[in-house]
């Protein structure tokens, strides 16, 4: 080891005390503040820093293993016998029993117990103390008490990244445990290249992933399950073709119609027909045609109908069809709703195109989005368009027999609840989801409602039993109501006809006299001003009425209407 430092001290100085001396104050260093140096410094921003002096702790989450339980039965084996008695031996057990029976306590206690027991037995025989009173009358009370509600059961989300609108829904006809939803972006030319064309079949028991995918060559706009053969689905595509799938055969369509023979515009509705072979369906689209197809041969439609009121038979004057309705009890008639607000009732058996169109019903201002017949009263049907829904009866053609008020947002779909035929004003308005709702379908037993939205989620709602179960005298009431309304319309119609005849008669007579104008000619500006005033008045009164009627709920109804702003009105 090297010696790095030598330190010497005299031996006599070890252990001697230290001598401290005072010294005058000496200035060692004097550093004056130098303002020029301050320029190289920047003042830091004041910041608040919280400091907590506390124990360090950390949070952990643990999921315990699921407890597995098993139910097992236990076989009771004779036990309790005293040691010397073998339960298997008949002799020993009987001997034991006889011994017990001879005991004093046995006799005494059994006498008491016996009398107690007899009392109860006699009581039982005398009267049934647990009798149920009024068993049959139970149902009446329940349905009217609770306010109607709807509860969300499941939300089925579109698994793709780019969200598409759920355009149509179809319940599986057998039990309604499966739902087929078709997805398509309906805005014109908005579809991006990455958007997938698939549509899905969901199983309600497994709402997280679709059960099956349907892969067409073009997005599907509408879907329908074949009511006879539960594995077959028909779909209409965005490019006008019609295709059908067999769920047993896979995701590709079994057959597709040829483009040349199909529609020129997206197919808005496809419905199966009631036929002996169960293979007929028909489709409608905005190019003005209604085509019938036999799915065994999709290369060519079996029949073609052009919706042209002026009966010219060309494609030019045809009105685009946006919805279709077909009732299985009246197999030759069907109805088409058009883009310009008319509903046309047609007869399939007509020989010429002129005969095919049997009657038209006007009254809507915008395209008719949905058309449904009332399953209890097939003569009446519901049409849903722009802002209102109307109910029509087949006999009165001039105007509808009942209509709802103008709602705040546009209605896009509606259908009848299959169990309750009567209806009044909306009793329940439920906000289903934040985006616009696009399509609606009720399950066969009326309890569950499926709604498809613009962003591709399908929500399943369960409606409270007050809204879906049939009340006793409802059928009679509904019948009366429909008849009353249709009578009213007929009377109005008759009056109008009379007036028209009178007018004509009068104008014929008055040709020699001064032509008497019915109304003074108003300039267009006056007309416009008058219209505006009336419009604003109507809005004001509507708003006041709405504020008053905010919370009122009236008799439950069966039709369910969907508003585009996302509110479910029923």
């Amino acid at each position: 080891m090297e010696i790095t430092y030598v330190y010497t001290k005299k031996r006599s100085e070890f252990g001697s005390q230290c001598n401290f001396t005072d010294r005058p104050v000496e200035l060692l260093v004097d550093i004056l503040p130098d303002p020029t140096v301050a320029a190289s410094f920047i003042q830091r921003d004041l910041c608040n820093m919280p400091v907590q002096c506390v124990q360090q702790m950390s949070e952990h989450e643990i999921n315990t293993e699921r407890l597995e339980t098993e139910t097992e039965g236990v076989n009771h084996v004779e036990g309790g016998w005293p040691k010397d008695v073998n339960p298997q031996e008949q002799e020993q057990t009987t001997r034991f029993r006889k011994k017990v029976e001879k005991e004093e306590s046995y006799i005494a206690s059994l006498t008491i117990l016996g009398s107690l027991m007899e009392h109860c037995i006699k009581q039982n025989n005398a009267i049934n103390i647990y009798e149920e009173y009024y068993e049959e009358e139970e149902e009446v009370q329940e349905s009217t008490e609770e306010p109607p509600t709807a509860k969300t059961l499941h939300v089925l989300k579109d698994p793709n990244d780019i969200k598409r609108t759920a355009t149509s829904l179809s319940w599986h006809p057998d039990g309604g445990r499966k739902l087929a939803v078709s997805y398509c972006c309906l805005e014109f030319q908005r579809a991006s290249k990455d958007m997938s064309f698939h549509s899905y079949i969901w199983n309600l028991e497994k709402p997280n992933k679709p059960q099956m995918t349907l892969k067409p060559s073009s997005p599907i706009v509408c879907l329908d399950y074949n009511p006879k053969d539960f594995h077959v689905l028909a779909g209409g595509c965005y490019n006008g073709q019609v295709a059908y799938w067999d769920t047993r055969k896979g995701s590709q369509p079994v057959e597709m119609s040829i483009i040349e023979q199909s529609h020129r515009d997206p197919v808005y509705k496809v419905i199966w027909l009631q036929s002996k072979t169960g293979t007929d369906c028909f489709s409608a689209s905005t190019d003005g045609q209604v085509l019938w197809w036999d799915i065994r041969k999709l290369s060519e439609p079996t029949e073609r109908l052009i919706l042209d009121i002026s009966k010219k038979g060309t494609l030019d004057g045809a009105a685009g069809a946006t919805s279709l309705e077909f009732e299985t009890t009246m197999p030759t008639k069907f109805m088409v709703g058009t883009e310009n607000g008319m509903v046309i009732a047609c007869n399939r058996k007509g020989k010429t195109p002129a005969e095919k169109i049997s009657s038209t019903f006007c009254g809507h201002h915008g395209p008719v989005y949905a058309l449904r017949r009332n399953p209890f009263y097939p003569k009446n049907f519901l049409s849903v368009a722009d802002w209102i829904a109307r109910i029509w009866s087949e006999d009165t053609k001039e105007s509808s027999i009942m209509w709802t008020r103008y709602h705040m947002a546009r209605l896009s779909d509606g259908c009848w609840s299959p169990t309750r035929p009567s209806q009044k004003e909306p009793t329940l308005s439920v906000k289903v989801c934040d985006e616009a709702l696009y399509s609606l379908r009720v399950q066969d037993n009326g309890h569950i409602l499926a709604c498809g939205s613009q962003l591709g989620t399908a929500t399943l709602l369960e409606i409270s039993s007050g809204l879906c179960s049939l009340q006793r005298n409802e059928k009679a009431l509904a019948n009366e109501m429909f008849e009353r309304e249709s009578k009213r319309e007929k009377i109005l119609e008759a009056r109008r006809r009379e007036l028209r005849l009178k007018e004509r008669g009068r104008s014929d007579q008055g040709k020699e006299e001064e032509p008497k104008e019915a109304e003074p000619q108003e300039s267009t500006e006056d007309l416009v001003a008058r219209a505006e005033k009336e419009f604003f008045q109507a809005i004001e009164s509507e708003r006041k009425k709405r504020e008053q009627e905010q919370q009122k709920l009236q008799t439950p109804i069966s039709t369910v209407k969907v508003e585009e702003a996302g509110k479910l009105v029923s």
Binding site: W81, G114, N124
Partner: protein, 96 residues
């Protein structure tokens, strides 16, 4: 002894009575009118249930005690009369 016999016979002869069982404190059936396996089942199960019921009653109020236990089911009614040492079980089909 004869009294006991008479009582039991009288109970058995009432309308709707399906069976009578006498069980002792250890759960051993002393007297029965049903077959062995059913008796053994009833004796074991009801014995335990009676003990449980009694302890429940006494837990709530120690001065209280179980006097009678009735189990009504869809098919019939099981009545249990407990005692310090013995248990009388009767299965009856109520009137309606």
């Amino acid at each position: 002894m004869a009294e006991v016999e008479e009582t039991l016979k009288r109970i058995q002869s009432h309308k709707g009575v399906l069976g009578t069982i006498v069980v002792n404190a250890e759960g051993i059936p002393i007297r029965t009118t049903l077959d062995n396996s059913t008796t053994v089942q009833y004796a074991g199960l009801l014995h335990q249930l009676t003990i449980k019921a009694r302890s429940t009653v006494r837990d709530i109020d120690p001065q209280n005690d179980l006097t009678f236990l009735r189990i009504r089911s869809k098919k019939h009614e099981i009545m249990v009369a407990p005692d310090k040492e013995y248990l009388l079980i009767v299965i009856q089909n109520p009137s309606e």
